[in-house]
Symmetry: C2
Subunit: 334 residues, 2 copies
């Protein structure tokens, strides 16, 4: 392992051993529907409340990831993860049953990437042989917490995003694996002053730009070195801002740059600017990117989790929305 600037380079790649995505009905009906390991028949996942439903979805993602590799929880040295709910209860309650040492994270929608960076460091440094990294969100628990109860039927502006009902779970280890994490850039907080909590993409775009720029500086690589650069949940507005910010530097991203928030739903699904939520990038990673890397359809990918570090309280108090972006370089193990 070596470090340049904010970027860690894992000369011995950290292995992505197994993974799984569990999603809700709307995500199952979207363009990636067939990619996910588990699609709910109904969004309560058999539970009485939305929060318990989200927790059950997290459990399903974890159980599925472990089962795919024939692992039991006892083979895990620790778990790192989180979600959007107050006090991160969907992950906490899910981890109660898994019973492994647990590090709770709060990185808003960047949580999947945050957990992979810390998990990769723990594995690379020999602190853990095997870590479980996870993140989730649920449209219904998020709506009533961040906006309005569903029954209220609140109107949403076109800039608003749709919180994905989705969860991803990834197991990292030090052994051979179809995909490796070969570098990681931990993000700093950037706040371009956006105060409209219905325009999160704009609030997070600068952080994505800055973290990508930091990675390119630290690594000496450029966009053309990658098959795909993917941000977490900037959706239509934020994605365009990132492209424009790089154009000002004379760098063209379009053609090899996508955003998970624009992959999860199609236009007929009325998701406005696109998807958001911790589960968005987590499920696209586990449902689409990792399988494509494992199959050799993709060789080198930059996965950039983006998060908005605000709350309804801070927005009500007039605060602007700070963004953060954590980056992983993923490579097919050829």
């Amino acid at each position: 392992m070596s470090r340049v600037g904010d970027t860690l380079f894992f000369e011995t790649p950290v292995g992505v051993e197994t993974w799984a995505a569990a999603v809700g009905t709307k995500e199952g009906e979207g363009p990636l529907g067939s990619c996910f390991d588990y699609v709910a028949r109904e969004n309560r996942f058999g539970k009485k409340t939305w929060e318990q439903a989200e927790s059950r979805m997290v459990e399903i993602a974890c159980e599925t990831a472990l089962n795919k590799a024939g692992l039991t929880p006892s083979r895990l040295d620790c778990a790192l993860g989180g979600d959007l709910l107050n006090q991160c209860i969907s992950t906490g309650y899910a981890m109660r049953g898994v019973g492994v040492p647990y590090f709770g994270l709060y990185g808003a929608c960047s949580t999947m990437a945050e957990s992979l960076i810390l998990g990769a460091a723990l594995v690379s440094g020999g602190f853990a042989q095997r870590t479980l990294c996870l993140a989730s969100s649920h449209f219904c628990s998020a709506e009533r917490q961040y906006r309005y109860p569903l029954e209220y039927g609140g109107q949403r502006p076109p800039s608003a995003q749709w919180t994905a009902t989705a969860s991803g779970a990834v197991v990292l280890h030090g052994g051979p694996a179809p995909v490796g994490i070969t570098a990681a850039t931990a993000g700093r907080i950037y706040d371009p002053g956006v105060t409209d909590s219905a325009n999160m993409g704009a609030a997070m775009a600068q952080s994505a730009y800055e973290t990508l720029r930091t990675f390119f500086r630290d690594s000496g690589q450029q966009p053309a070195d990658f098959d795909l650069i993917v941000t977490g949940d900037l959706a239509a507005i934020g994605r365009d801002i990132v492209i424009e910010l790089f154009r000002r530097d004379g760098v063209e991203l379009d053609g090899r740059y996508q955003d998970c928030g624009m992959l999860l739903y199609d236009e007929s699904q009325d998701a406005h600017a696109g998807a958001s939520g911790c589960g968005c990038s987590a499920a696209v990673l586990c449902g689409r990117l990792l399988p494509d890397l494992a199959a050799g359809k993709l060789k080198k990918v930059l996965f950039c989790g983006t998060g908005a570090l605000m709350s309804p309280t801070s927005s009500n108090q007039g605060e602007s929305i700070p963004g953060i972006c954590h980056l992983l370089r993923l490579e097919a193990n050829l």
Copy 2:
């Protein structure tokens, strides 16, 4: 570094380079009042809202810790921390100004210990030369979020704890330091089925017992090997449960076991069972334990951060309260 069970052993201790505690007025009037680096004259810390006040308190703790060692934020490779507020906004907004790579954590009141374990691993593994670890809580922001607005004047049962207005910041590095982290046990979640959110100490006690037992098993050490074993915020009821659980195993803790929640206030301060909150253990660590270790008054300490991974929503839904406890072994650098 070596690993046995859930415990990491740092043969080369991770150095605790500098630290600081910033607290509110009530904490300043308590038995440890003279120990803290900064005591507020008023609990709004010059801000308009309780949340912004908490954020300012976090900034003060960080600035003070850095100033004590003549460091600037540019010397930090990353920060790890969190708090009790929804979406951890007090830490997020404080870190916006510090401008270093940031990993947000949610470990409830165990956050200080969680940040120290992850920070120590990052330093020990060479992933960071210097990390900032922090945690905070504020009575007024916590009361209105978890219980009632202050103006309501809600009654509290004797088992209730008083959320500390307090923040601690610690800088870890790989160089020489007055105090070293020599081992760490990452906690698992235990849930003894307590559903009374006014009795958090009872909910968290088992996790403290289990993590301590795990550490003693993994290390081959016993309570008598330590000058002090200290839990985060179990307060009167939880502390007694831990003592009783160990007595059933034939192990006597009393005499060398204290709880931060019982150190922060005296009986005249009407704090019921004692103190709680992320800031409780963080401030006692930075105000009392680390200075006593640095001065050689203490040689070997087990610092056990305890957290309750619930939310008002999960309690309203009838869920019991899962507890977690992360442990650090701190040793004076003689």
